[in-house]
Symmetry: C3
Subunit: 262 residues, 3 copies
Amino acid sequence: MKSSIITLTTDFGTRDGFVGAMKGRILSLFPSATIVDITHDIQPFSVIEAAFTLLNFFSYYPENTIHVVVVDPGVGSNRRELIVKIAGRYIICPDNGLLSLLVQDFDLEQTYVIRRNWQEWVIAPTFHGRDIFAPAAAMLARGESIDSIADLSDQQPVLYSWPVKLVGKNQIILTILHIDRFGNIITNLTRKQWDQLNHGKQPKLKLKKGFIYGIHRTFSEVQNGQLLMFWDSSGYLAIGRNQGNAAALTGLHLLDEVVLEY
Amino acid sequence: MKSSIITLTTDFGTRDGFVGAMKGRILSLFPSATIVDITHDIQPFSVIEAAFTLLNFFSYYPENTIHVVVVDPGVGSNRRELIVKIAGRYIICPDNGLLSLLVQDFDLEQTYVIRRNWQEWVIAPTFHGRDIFAPAAAMLARGESIDSIADLSDQQPVLYSWPVKLVGKNQIILTILHIDRFGNIITNLTRKQWDQLNHGKQPKLKLKKGFIYGIHRTFSEVQNGQLLMFWDSSGYLAIGRNQGNAAALTGLHLLDEVVLEY
Amino acid sequence: MKSSIITLTTDFGTRDGFVGAMKGRILSLFPSATIVDITHDIQPFSVIEAAFTLLNFFSYYPENTIHVVVVDPGVGSNRRELIVKIAGRYIICPDNGLLSLLVQDFDLEQTYVIRRNWQEWVIAPTFHGRDIFAPAAAMLARGESIDSIADLSDQQPVLYSWPVKLVGKNQIILTILHIDRFGNIITNLTRKQWDQLNHGKQPKLKLKKGFIYGIHRTFSEVQNGQLLMFWDSSGYLAIGRNQGNAAALTGLHLLDEVVLEY
């Protein structure tokens, strides 16, 4: 069960030493941990953004990797603190919907709730990242059994869903799940869903002004500055712009809806 | 004395390769160093912000950890270059007040001044992070004695103070030491000072508009969007806002003063 | 040929899990890699910014270090994917001009083109960082021969040049290659070129308003807030401002031209 790789995904930013404290706690418990920064720039409190980001990197890590994810608007409330085994990896996170997208693609194997009896320090009510989640990761990484720090639970993690909406015969409404650093707009339509819905027709996406026609393989298939649809690297339908920013051009935002016709 | 952990805290940002050069210098001298990024996003030249950030992570690292802190508006002037031992850890930094808050909480054990005779490269007058501080850390981490690169000094590091001001019987003036990524506003009042001043009364903090009453344990004890006072995870009185940004709402800035009544 | 150090320089930002996926791919192939983040904040698609940033850190790493650089506006087009040996280190990058400045200072030893026959996964047309460049680095780092993943090429990498322009007898036109996090403005004039042109005279740089006179050694030689010229830590002529932001004050931008008289 042992892996020395611990990844960190938070909304703590990189300005304040919060992440530094988490890493210190890990290295104090397990000096030879391999700590990997995924991102600390999740929009503050945005569970959906973190849920989507997980899809981008989760499965590229070896089995038994420990992924710590702390986006925790309810810190200090009675939401649970979890260790979840999914597809052979561990995720340590608050129980607030962070796993919603991941469990659509990967098997949820086991759910544990972290106990409060093994921490040899005061647990600050506003900083469970440092006092609960990071040290739990260090304990697993250094070879402690899960049972020594957490209890198996029958209760599923909190899961939200953002389904594609069918309207009329050849029309669906998509929701924007994420806008990435380049201004690419990622919708909630997966390639698998699209293959089930569609029979070889090229779709068109309706914008405030005009349409985007067809799904392209890569950016350089369209002119500089032109919008296109493509399958993003996690398998979701995305709107991009060759050498430009699609979000800035279209004015679309997180959780907006768009209509796809086919 | 040996530890292979070297942490880096700078105002160099993450855009330019400056930090990359520091890490390269460390790995050239000591390839098995464990380099930990704390932050490179200290506001440029802000010694007070770096001094506060140190409090957030310093003591969570194992003894003998080497913390490199480079916020250095006086680079190239005659300010000293220090290796300081505090509470069993090492801090390597310019002598410009960076240790001001740390020494209020932890024992300053020894102060050394880095020598200029062991560097086998040209020392650029504008980049001591790469040419002096980072390599000094690598030398210690790989087991060289402190005496081989620095001289013990009798002269204390430069220390500033930002004390709480007492006005009248039940009123104190606090200074804003830091505003974090979430917009939480951290004042200079420590819990210890408060326990000495106060005898069980709940305080109220005066804002431009209205007051904040009492000190809460955690964010979820107040309504969404509401302001609260709480003890931040380093033990300083802070102003936060449940699922919101207190700094944006109150208009308070770094080094502003606020009045606390009790 | 073996080194376990792999550095990463990209324009992927730190918000999306893209870099996390690259690191996962590396650690899956070679769990004991030492992965070093240089920067992920290159301006999106800015080959020139990445080319300049390389100068800042490249040579501070030990020989055989593997530098991965992914700023790749042409991803999915037919631009080549390279492994280049320069001054004893390896650079793995798309063939789009990223090496333009580096080869002016260091010897280009060998150029290889990465093959497409050894990757045991689907190569996403929009994410060669994860599917081609990062795993190529992991393969080299874990000791595979270059020949097992790439072919030696006779064709030089794509190289651009941004030369200093001579006008009249004692006047040259410089181009802005980079503006750093502090607002320092780096031009394309190297110290070596200047020593060839000039015979001991102090130059003056013409701005929209007034001049900057002489080249200083370090910031603290001028008053707070004052502009100065200095040799940046990579040996290029730069415009800075003591404890201030030169770019904000002068209004100069990337690729603007300025006149130096002497």
